[in-house]
Amino acid sequence: MEELLRKLKIQSPPQGARERVLAAARAELQQAAEKRDWLDRLWESRAFWRSAAAVVLVCLVAIFVAPAGATPRQAAPVAADPIVVAAAKELAASLGDGPVLERRLIAQLSGTEAPSGSHELFRNDLFLLRNIQ
């Protein structure tokens, strides 16, 4: 049986198959090479690395600098001492600063907000208020 089968020869690829198959494969090879070239050029370009460095720098700034400059958190409302409230109201009224100063004085005296270092007048008010008590 095997001898009988071996007597027959299988056909060869048809005319033109070589060119068709190889043309398609060459095009694929060329496409792969171009894609690779593009990636290589990107990898080797200064602009790519500068952009990457800039992104890293911005990220670092965002991570480390932002908390330092961030707005202090709003103090949670607390039940203030009536004496403190009255004194803050009186002092704020006498200075003409109104409810804003009054709220800050209450927060300061109740210990829920750190004193603002830039407001000289406010510090003096606080000193006075503490001495009154």
Binding site: M1, E2, E3, L4, L5, R6, K7, L8, K9, I10, Q11, S12, P13, P14, A17, R18, R20, V21, L22, A24, A25, R26, E28, L29, Q30, A32, A33
Partner: protein, 186 residues
């Protein structure tokens, strides 16, 4: 495990290395050396010249796409047959609903060898077409590609014993399918 055709590569592994470096002339070298055997296998499995050429083209496209992995291939012939087999079986599964059909005079060269009755090639093509694809595959690899059973096992991914028994079953079926007068030919 036996490495199929490792001694038959004749420097083909160097062509794969050149292909891995992007040299298109390596494709031509590989085609000229292996295409006739690969095409024969694809033609016997698929039964139609255009389908066999598609399989061959898919193989060469895959070679171009996966060129960066080609440096580690031990046997080029085995690698090519396995790649082509994957393409063939994908196609066979995709076309599973279609009846397997062989184009007239598609597989074997015509005229047939002297001493064989006219129509013998057509009878054998028709009988091969009636075999299950796994059995037809073993016949094609053993008889027409001169592979040993361990080599067939490497390509098809089955144990060598399974390949051997598939071959025996296939021969039995062919004997049953072919005209008795053809079997008495010497």
């Amino acid at each position: 495990m036996e490495v199929i055709g490792a001694d038959q590569d004749d420097g083909a592994s160097l062509w794969l290395e050149r292909l891995a470096e992007g040299d298109p002339s390596a494709l031509e070298m590989l085609y000229d050396k292996f295409a006739p055997q690969l095409y024969g296998y694809a033609l016997g499995m698929l039964g139609r010249p255009e389908a066999a050429e598609d399989g061959l083209q898919e193989l060469f496209l895959n070679l171009a796409r996966s060129r960066s992995k080609l440096g580690h291939v031990r046997s080029v012939r085995a690698y090519l047959f396995v790649m082509l087999r994957n393409a063939i079986w994908r196609r066979l599964r995709r076309d599973a609903s279609d009846e397997f059909s062989v184009d007239p005079a598609a597989i074997f060269q015509r005229p047939g060898p002297a001493g064989l009755p006219e129509g013998a090639a057509a009878d054998i093509e028709s009988a091969l077409a009636k075999l299950p694809a796994e059995q037809r595959e073993v016949i094609l690899l053993k008889v027409y590609q001169d592979m040993t059973f361990p080599e067939i096992a490497d390509v098809t991914g089955v144990p060598a014993n399974t390949a051997t028994s598939r071959y025996r079953y296939a021969l039995d079926k062919l004997r049953a399918l072919l005209p008795p007068d053809l079997l008495q030919e010497k």
